[in-house]
């Protein structure tokens, strides 16, 4: 009797545990749905073809579109990724594969962790000091580099973690066939972890795509359509910030649309890269 009572008690505990986990999952998903739904319901109303094709008019009652900011954000992300992703990947590979051979790994890992936690406004100030002051004006390069600076530690640490998950027998099998270490890493270890590394990279891209603070001090933002990163450079986040904190309701509506576009952009980018990087993962 006692035993079956005990059993039903543990079974009830198990169900309770499941119930609590499920409940909180639903709550979180609900909140997410709420945010997304609110955003879409307000943003969609302000979305129009002209949003994508027109530039700011400067008239508060009909503010035009955000073409300059969309293009600016895409260019900034591309430039930042071009610098930040390879750097981060290389640091990650170093930490995971070569760190045993030199004392440098410990400090590098520590610094990467600290950098990943640095408030982005600090990165903005750094970019201002290093790339804006010397060049004499706000510019797109500084913005892109500030974003890249945020990406490097994220990409490096996720890459390291993912490479560490690759079983050692893969490395041994390749080395036993007479491969060099570099070849083993490039042909076997990294491909085995590609899927999860891509996830880490996408997290970093999404993170910087939404950054505003470092851009305020570096790229500054612009109401002009420009592809010249030597000038102050437009971006969705800064434009949204400007409109959302301003007094004009038409501009505020445009800001909502801008946020919606930004999120969709990240989403599409994510799907596209995942699709392209689809490869067989590690055998379970």
């Amino acid at each position: 009797m006692f035993r079956s009572f005990h059993n039903s008690l543990t079974r009830a505990q198990s169900k309770l545990m499941f119930g609590i986990c499920a409940l909180f999952t639903v709550i979180i998903l609900g909140l997410l749905g709420l945010v997304a739904g609110y955003l879409v319901s307000i943003g969609v109303g302000s979305l129009s073809w002209s949003f994508f094709t027109e530039l700011p008019t400067g008239r508060p009652e009909s503010p035009g579109g955000m073409r300059h900011a969309i293009e600016g954000t895409v260019i900034l992300i591309a430039l930042a990724s071009f610098v930040g992703i390879p750097l981060g990947l290389l640091v990650g590979i170093y930490l995971a594969e070569y760190s045993k051979e030199w004392w440098l790994a410990g400090p590098v890992r520590f610094i990467a962790d600290v950098l990943a936690g640095v408030p982005s406004i600090v990165v903005g100030i750094l970019g201002y000091e290093l790339l804006v002051v010397p060049l004499g004006r706000y510019n797109g390069w500084a913005g892109a580099m500030a974003l890249a600076f945020i990406m490097v530690p994220i990409v490096a640490r996720t890459t390291e973690e993912m490479l560490r998950l690759v079983p050692n027998t893969y490395r041994e099998a390749s080395l036993a066939l007479g491969a060099t270490k570099a070849r083993t890493i490039l042909r076997v270890v990294v491909p085995a972890a590609t899927g999860s590394i891509v996830t880490g990279v996408m997290l970093a891209v999404a993170r910087v795509a939404g950054e505003t603070a470092p851009l305020l001090f570096t790229a500054l933002g612009s109401r002009l359509l420009t592809r010249n990163p030597n000038q102050p450079f437009p971006s969705l986040t800064v434009q949204v910030f400007t409109y959302a904190t301003g007094p004009y309701p038409e501009q505020k509506r445009l800001a909502w649309a801008g946020i919606l576009v930004l999120i969709s952009l990240i989403f599409v980018l994510n799907l596209a890269i995942r699709y392209m990087a689809r490869r067989p993962g590690i055998a379970s």
């Binding site: 099998a173 080395l175 036993a176 066939l177 007479g178 491969a179 070849r183 590690i282 055998a283």
Partner: protein, 302 residues
Amino acid sequence: MLHPQSAVIEPPTALPSLGPIGEPRRQPRPPQPTPQHQSDHPAEIHPELAAQPAILAIDRFSLFYGRQQALYDISMSIPAGKVTALIGPSGCGKSTLLRSFNRLNDLIDHVRIEGSISLDGQPIYARHVDVIELRKRMGMVFQKSNPFPMSIFENVVYALRLAGENRRAVLMEIAERSLRGAALWDEAKDRLHSSALSLSGGQQQRLCIARAIAADPEVLLMDEPCSALDPTATAKVEELIHSLRGRYTIVVVTHNMQQAARVSEYTAFMYLGRLMEYGPTKAMFVNPRRRETEAYVTGRFG
């Protein structure tokens, strides 16, 4: 020291207690300090081996993981073109010895060796030896199948690509030959360019064998190649070892004594980092000369 089959064998009271077998082992475990009485015995090496031309000659080889000694003063020679099995309980150093042949132990920190191992008369631990070139002369098959995350075809020709071979026709021919050699051709020929990870466990292990023999190595090292396979797949891999006999020198580490008896021509029994007895497989199982060998092969410890 010869025990007739019918003799009553006394329980191996002199043997210290051993760990359980059959558990997965990532790193060879260093053995416990050995009781004095065992180090007095030199390994019992059957005279038949002296007549065989050797491809690998191990001379007073010892290996240390840091301060822990894993191999004690091992001297033996591996006959060319034969299948030699290394048997012994967990942690006896048989995998460590196998990994010493292609210097895979170099990858582990704080490994130190004494003595020497020669491949075709060339010492492999000499200062000038190019480890990459050495490893190209040997193939290795691991406990857990580890096909690379690429196509079946690319897995097989990996070693050839390393050697700079990129001619499609040559690669294709060798891929077919290797896959046939590994008894995988019929199952894989229609899906050469699909992922190697889509194969079943047993097929993956045969793919690893195909990969190991593609570059025509002089020696094929197998580290418990069947321990993660089901009986059917095991039987296939064992058949394969049979069919490769004569063409390659094969050294196979196994936990499974029946397997050693089935596939090998020579068997070496290791215990606590020492070579105990080494001879023709049949003699080792039917007429072992040492008490420890007899106790192990009759399944009374290990």
